[in-house]
Symmetry: C2
Subunit: 92 residues, 2 copies
């Protein structure tokens, strides 16, 4: 999905991500919320706040989970991290 | 979905939930992995470990997110918490 606005959820205040997610929806665009590791719970919070408080007619188009292999940690050992991609759209 | 084995992911070691999820799958049963709040990230970890290491032909049948209203906190104020339900089945 090229050119789909994507919000990467990390450690900033939740409302930053809520606003970043709300804007493209209000413009009638699809938006993807992505997170890795512990931020996965926050990505779900973002989607729930958007749906309940900001864009009530937002629809969860898909939720995909996966694993990303990466080289992490000072020991240089490969570690893997879980990921989530939630695609939201707006009822037309 | 009555009688579907359900694994509630919390703070126990990850492998407890991985084993609890693997068993019904190996018996050919569908299983639901549920979590709330911060445990949502761990629920995704459980599913990913099961799929990648234990039951390679497991299929994610559905992923649902939501919000649970509850009375929490010493102040007695209602707080809401995000939830995830991941349903796994095995390729037949």
């Amino acid at each position: 999905m090229a050119n789909v606005p994507t919000v990467y959820v990390g450690r900033k205040p939740l409302m930053n991500y809520v606003v970043a997610t709300t804007m493209p929806l209000l413009e009638g665009k699809r938006v993807i919320i992505k997170a890795r590791g512990r931020a996965i719970s926050r990505a779900v919070d973002v989607v729930e706040v958007v749906r309940r408080r900001f864009v009530q007619d937002a629809i969860i188009e898909s939720i995909a989970i996966g694993t990303e292999e990466g080289r992490m940690g000072a020991d240089g050992r490969a570690r893997s991290v879980s990921t989530i991609d939630i695609t939201l759209t707006k009822r037309t």
